[in-house]
């Protein structure tokens, strides 16, 4: 076991994938010599060469479009989108092409492409550097969407994503890049990409979170006095592991979903709708959601007010517990 930051764990995961399978390629803006603006691809170019770790022109549609072509030729590209807010120029490539090519060709053409996206707020950035666009992709059939919440999980998840024969949107919680954990670099077991993980057992209420909000949910659970909170790390945003959530809710009878993305039409909506359908007579309170407001992501001096924090999670837990 080694203590690593999440950024470094991802770097090691990429290194391992590049080493294990020479069809793997890394591409994006500034991923080579610079090692990426967050250094997640640090030194990969010098190790694996400029024809496997490629600095691309500044064009996101071009990055994803050429990566699809590489995949059709038999490669397994891993693309970096520099920041969440810069994925939209590639939206057509992702939702109309990447997501649909397997289905369109009746399974004849796979596009095993991983798109890494540092996402979310809390780092005091200028506009377009703090967004949570995951729901756009989670609602798109044909894509897998995942988010890691800790260094150890990040290390295996990125390798699983690259091994997947499906396209994977891999959302990295940028404000947790520098959080450390023990990582087993030789670890071979992994939870896979589709399974949610119960991180903390509890009996009174379930809190589901993913990515950057997992740490927040755990902190809130620890502070919730007199309430036993079960915390689930969703991990996979599409598909969603409803079975794990349902099992928990059948025990706790209450559910809160937390994400940075706006509540309106965020993942919490789907979780609330489906869990309510499954557990209608077992729920003692409506599923409550904590998330961003229905506004654009604000200027950084306001982000503390926009983002869910321990207080808002606690407040929502209380509101749920208060329903009789």
């Amino acid at each position: 076991m080694t203590t690593l930051t999440m950024a470094k764990a991802l770097n090691e995961g990429l290194r391992r994938s590049l080493g294990d399978d020479d069809r793997v390629m890394v591409m994006g803006e500034d991923v080579g010599r610079l090692g990426g603006v967050f250094r997640v691809t640090d030194s990969l170019q010098s190790e694996f060469g400029a024809d496997r770790v490629i600095d691309t022109p500044l064009a996101e549609s071009g990055i994803i479009g050429t990566a699809i072509g590489l995949a059709i030729r038999g490669y397994r590209p891993v693309c970096e989108i520099q920041f969440d807010g810069f994925i939209y120029p590639a939206f057509d490539q992702i939702v109309s092409q990447l997501a649909k090519i397997r289905h369109r060709t009746d399974g004849a053409v796979s596009v095993p492409l991983t798109i890494r996206v540092p996402f979310g707020g809390g780092i005091g950035a200028v506009e377009h550097h703090s967004e949570s666009p995951e729901a756009y992709f989670a609602q798109t059939a044909g894509l897998r969407v995942v988010s890691c919440s800790s260094a150890d999980d990040a290390y295996s998840m990125i390798q699983d994503a690259i091994r997947s024969d499906d396209p994977v949107l891999f959302f990295e919680p940028k404000r947790r890049y520098w959080d450390k954990a023990e990582v087993d670099l030789d670890g071979v077991t992994s939870l896979g990409l589709e399974t949610a993980r119960v991180l903390r057992e509890g009996t009174d209420i379930t809190v589901v979170a993913y990515g950057p909000m997992v740490a927040t949910a755990l902190a809130a659970a620890n502070e919730a006095e007199g309430t036993s909170v079960e915390v689930i790390d969703l991990r996979s945003l599409s598909p969603i592991d409803f079975d794990t959530i349902e099992r928990s809710v059948l025990k706790t009878h209450r559910l809160v979903v937390v994400h940075e993305a706006s509540v309106f039409l965020g993942l919490g909506a789907e979780i609330a709708a489906r869990i309510t359908e499954r557990c209608f007579f077992q729920l003692e309170a409506p599923v409550l959601r904590v998330g961003g407001y229905a506004t654009p992501y604000p200027a950084s001096k306001l982000e503390q007010y926009f983002l869910p924090d321990v207080d808002r999670v606690l407040d929502t837990i209380e509101r749920s517990m208060a329903v009789e």
Binding site: G65, I68, G69, Q93, R102, G107, A108, P239
Partner: protein, 374 residues
């Protein structure tokens, strides 16, 4: 090795067949690419042109009779398609747009299979791996970039095995050149020097929009802006198209990078069977282009060489009729897809959500799930 041709005046189109005499013009750069084209080849090319026009007409008829939902006729663009497709090797890869029925024909796609997408029994049609040709691209733009990425893959393959010399070609129309993806493709191709041929069929219209809305200078000029080699060719001269495609392919194989070919041609029919071209173009224009018919152009060559005897022409007609009849029959006989196939191939491994929906669907429709699925 470096194969370059001086950039010609951009308004000048490469031509091989003299449209008056049917003689072959001696072009210093491009004629050598036709050195191996003998009488038999000329006849086979002619046969291709006639057959794909006949198949195209048959498809239009099938649409009118309700057997297809839609059809995008290629009439007028036979030379651009047959000429370019014949300039490739089977191991080269093709990214078509939605009108490249002629290219598909040369690649060996069963014409009846081409119709399936238009009939609505499948989203695509054929297995791209079988013919090294992707299924049609309906959204205009993205696939031009696929061809660059595919070319990057070829280059990487080449670093592992120097014998690899595949190339890749992508087709789009004059309208398609306005999409950002088209320009990004030129830029990436230049930066990575990929073995990619961009083949633009400038058929003068994007649905109702004349090419002047897309470009105020010849489209081929786009190439030089990105440091890509550009060639403008008479798209109704099948031999010229064949020669320039071979030239571009040879450059690509040799490591000299991408080429943009603008084939100047004309869409004789409607944009699709849903379109009414009389709303936006007139009879005189149509007549102007009818005089430049690509099949007539090659026929001049055959006539001049005495290759178009009755026997040959009858055999061509026979082939065309036979294919058309086969296609008609196969099209009408195409079975509707199995309803439950809706859920197939969304993911490599089916998700729980899809499995649940598949089961609900089977329940709702009283289907037996045994044996279905992936």
């Amino acid at each position: 090795m470096s194969i370059t041709a001086p950039q010609r005046d951009l308004f000048e189109q490469v031509a091989i067949i003299d449209p008056e005499s049917g003689e072959l013009i001696d072009d210093e750069i491009y004629s050598p690419y036709l050195a191996d084209i003998g009488d038999t080849d000329l006849r086979e090319i002619y046969r291709d042109l006639v057959v794909v026009r006949r198949l195209d007409a048959e498809a239009t008829a099938l649409q009118r009779q309700g057997q297809l939902g839609l059809w995008a006729p290629l009439a007028g663009q036979e030379a651009a398609q047959i000429g370019s497709a014949r300039g490739l090797r089977p191991s080269d890869f093709v990214f078509p747009s939605y009108r490249e029925h002629g290219v598909a024909y040369v690649r060996g796609v069963d014409p009846a299979v081409v119709l399936r997408m238009w009939r609505g029994t499948t989203l695509a049609g054929w297995n791209p791996r079988d013919v090294n040709m992707m299924t049609p691209a309906i959204v205009i733009g993205p696939h031009m970039l696929f061809a660059v990425g595919y070319g990057m893959g070829i280059l990487r393959d080449k670093t592992l095995n120097s014998a690899v010399d595949d190339i890749v070609i992508a087709y789009c129309g004059d309208g398609g050149t306005s999409q950002g993806d088209f320009s990004e493709a030129l830029g990436f191709a230049a930066s990575f020097r990929t073995p990619t041929v961009f083949f633009v069929q400038n058929n003068q219209y994007a649905i109702s929009s004349p090419v002047g809305i897309q470009a105020t200078v010849p489209i081929v000029q786009r190439a030089a802006g990105f440091g890509v080699h550009g060639i403008r060719v008479d798209g109704n001269d099948v031999l010229a198209v064949l020669a320039v495609t071979r030239h571009a392919a040879e450059r690509a194989r040799a490591g000299d990078g991408p080429t943009l070919i603008e084939a100047v041609t004309y869409r004789m029919g409607p944009h699709t069977t849903s379109d009414d071209p009389t709303r936006y173009r007139d009879a005189a224009e149509l007549e102007f282009w009818r005089q430049r018919d690509p099949i007539d152009r090659l026929r001049l060559v055959l006539d001049r060489r005495g290759l178009a005897d009755q026997e040959f022409l009858a055999s061509v007609d026979e082939t065309a009729d036979r294919y058309a009849a086969e296609v008609r029959e196969a099209c009408i006989a195409t079975p509707d897809p199995d309803p439950i196939s809706l859920f197939d191939n969304v993911y490599a491994t089916e998700t729980a959500l899809l499995a649940e929906e598949r089961t609900d669907f089977a329940d709702l429709h009283g289907l037996d799930l045994q044996g279905s699925g992936e």
